[in-house]
Amino acid sequence: MSRELRRMRGRVAIVGAGESDEMGKLPHKSAFALHAESARNALADAGLVKDDVDAVFSAGLWMASETAEYMGIRPRYVDGTQIGGCSFIAHVQHAMAAIEAGVCEVALITHGESGASRVGMPGTRFGPDSTRLQFEAPFGLAGPPTGYALAAARHMHEFGTTSEQLAELAVATRKWAQLNPRAAMRDPLTVADVLASRMISWPLHLLDCCLVTDAGGAVVVTSAERARDLRQKPVYVLGTGEASTHVMVSQMPDFARWEAARMSAERAFAMAGVTHADVDVAEFYDAFTIVPIMGLEATGFCKEGEGGAFVSGGRTAPGGDFPMNTNGGGLSYTHSGMYGMFALVEAVRQLRGECGPRQVKDARIAVCHGLGGMFSAAATLLAGTEAP
């Protein structure tokens, strides 16, 4: 299996990356408008035009083909895989497989969401007789914070993780945001500030929770051969993985361990043939402070139960020995609802050396690790500046 996977590494590359022109609170832009401007920016970045695209990948509550229709693209290959906020990272794996199989050549992966303003957003997909409305909602499961709190509490119970350790992650991430002029939250932040912020769902405070914004992003993937003739320095796909274990938080197999992340990262590292020590920069989906802590454990960057200690003392902050969430993350940069795309775009920019004051010096290998649902799914990408 591992040898079959390794055959794929470095065969495709991310050749374009872009975000919406603006992000934040944008009541004048629909979700599809954010898709389209992100796609325009990513294609321009790649030096490609719309007609070069023959495959569209998108995730949301609508069909990927609706996104294609809005942009006036008639793709021969459409993938609407929706496993939550990490879907776009999974799409990179799907694009790799499709390009390698010869069924498409230029894959456009887009995201746009009016998460804050709710302009042009579809309604709920949960009917009154859905399992979620029968077996979770009647007990007051009220959106993501209440679900993630169930995992945080169990992690604290089993491993002694503390609220201070969760706050340390928010503080380190804010320091990156202070280096990013596009970040939504740039004021200085202390552990005491996080602990003093309003309790949302114990043990999660307001500042343990990500932002809710309007934003979009897009990337373009093509073969390594074609990538060499394009405008940007290719960011090679070295390893990919994805996994899904459940959807509803009440079905989480183990509340203190993120099983999908373990499965996904194991596959990505096996394919890439790199070690954890080879990784120069990390982008970990941070919907809540507990998420990267459990993610770092599950993906093998630290031992089980040691995630809280790992992120303490500014290790993931600028100047720390594990630079992580260098754009300011979902906690302080932007979070439209599906942050995985922004993690992906930042990984590309770091590997190209475009990040100015927040640039991680000599970044050659990046890990981009996404979250789906309620620790329900995960997708992992290892990317690098050189093809093996």
Partner: protein, 139 residues
């Protein structure tokens, strides 16, 4: 129509026996005749072996608190709070259920993961009873 402000379960054919039993204040779960395991939420196929040969059985209603959160900003109009305790209970028979822990102060200092709990039914409308849990041995 009731003026109950929170979502009420609307059964499907595969879940109706669960909600009908709850209305009688009985906790019943589907049990697989092939592999012998209980599961929850109720499905038409056993999630362990995919068998469709299932049997509804009454369970003890006892278990342990597996994890919880004290919700301060919750569903608008939710009758128990805020704050209220959203909990996951692991039943003695194996499956875990999302529920509310009642009969305790909604404060993390009053709630302990691992504490023994037992089912208690809340008649939230004339047609619907919800399975809540309380500390075992409670009134």
């Amino acid at each position: 129509m009731s003026d109950y402000a929170a979502p009420l379960p609307v059964p499907t054919p595969e879940s109706r026996p669960f909600w009908d039993a709850a209305r009688r204040h009985e906790l019943t779960l589907p049990c697989c005749r092939r592999c012998g395991k209980f599961h929850y939420y109720p499905r038409a196929a056993c999630p362990f072996c995919l068998s469709g040969d299932l049997d509804w059985r009454r369970v003890s209603g006892r278990g342990r608190l597996h994890t919880f959160t004290v919700v301060h900003r919750g569903a608008r109009g939710f009758p128990l709070g805020p704050p209220y305790v959203l909990a996951v209970v692991e039943l003695d028979e194996g499956p875990r259920m999302m529920t509310n822990l009642v009969g305790v102060t909604p404060d993390p200092a009053s709630v302990r993961i691992g504490m023994p709990v037992e089912v208690t039914f809340a008649d939230v409308t004339a047609e619907v009873a919800l399975p809540h849990f309380r500390p075992a041995g409670g009134a």
